[in-house]
Symmetry: C4
Subunit: 123 residues, 4 copies
């Protein structure tokens, strides 16, 4: 049996899906999750906005002993996607401890730009 | 009722507003705040410099259950803005726990560059 | 005698070795380790994937009072390298406390992009 | 009287001063320190290498209620600078608590790339 590692609740205040891409790569963001445990992790992801109520409890499974790099553009709730070009923030809850990192590739201009942070864990 | 998450005091030592922009995008920095609580958060932001006294207690409200991505170029104290092209540091105090991330887009040259960090929380 | 500093277990969920390079520099990632102690640190690095079992316990030594910036493309287990162009995650275990940072240079396009994070420590 | 905030010991494993610059900006790294206290902070910075003994106890003062963005290329010990193009790691000790962030601008190619991390604090 492998132990879960990390925390059950993580936050990323700076979410943003760029509207356009002009280089060889497509602009995108990823929520990168690692589940070190021998059991699957069930995630509930909530999205907070500047001017409207949150989208709550988008469900994602990260399998036992696996990582999952989740494109935020793939997240939806009953078919509703996260809007592009809008500032938002991300909450990741899990039923078992996980580790969460956030990365963004911005290809708005001809050359790409990268940023990455560990999400902020709540103990 | 939704609980506040995070901490009440956060620091970002590396603040800098680039002087010029030459690409499609404008250079800017953002202090990205998430307030998960059912009540508004009242922030007091202070700016520290290398060679003069701090600008203290710039007030900002982040509404309940909302994120706010605050452009540092919009912060002012009685009409005085943060000077551009000058190294500075940022303190974010809040009356309730919040989560704070800092990101910078540098468009000084034709192509943009990105950086981001979680602010350092004081417990 | 110099004391070890940091933690014995660190995680980086967002690992990725870019497939191509087109600039003057070669795309690469580095796991940057600092060993402040008067004794050598023995690391066991494990790699987690999205769709297969982990590569476990790749051994690396970081000498006493030294740093080592480990190219992930140099890590192998019985001759098997980490595949390029595939999302993965990294676990770094050490017999004594160390400090771990992860950086990536992406030279997929003509100009390079950089990202860096402190790994997430488990206490 | 203003209180000191943060920690007295911080680490940055991934230090690197790029050898060349080709854009409008010069490649550089900065150790960004914030001293929130009413008294000056006395820093002792040590540099660790991959293949030689550390350079220890480079002294720097950060004045009361000030930030200081220290160019690593300005640090020296009896006239000896940190070598360029060589991987190294950074230790920052202070007599009072401070907050430490590390940022790098890489202008090796025509367009700049940025990275930044909070240093790892030891409690």
């Amino acid at each position: 049996m492998h132990r879960p590692r990390g925390e059950k609740l993580w936050y990323i205040p700076d979410g943003y899906i760029p509207e356009v891409s002009s280089g060889q790569l497509t602009s995108h963001e990823s929520i990168c999750v690692l589940n070190t445990a021998s059991e699957d992790a069930l995630l509930r992801i909530s999205i907070y906005f500047e001017d409207r109520d949150p989208m709550e409890d988008i469900m994602v499974v990260v399998a036992a002993r696996r990582t999952k790099h989740i494109r935020t553009s793939s997240l939806h709730q009953e078919g509703t996607l996260i809007p592009v070009g809008v500032p938002y923030a991300i909450e990741v809850q899990s039923d078992i401890p996980i580790i969460v990192q956030y990365s963004r590739l911005d290809a708005t201009q001809a050359e790409n730009a990268l940023m990455s942070v560990m999400a902020h864990p709540i103990k």
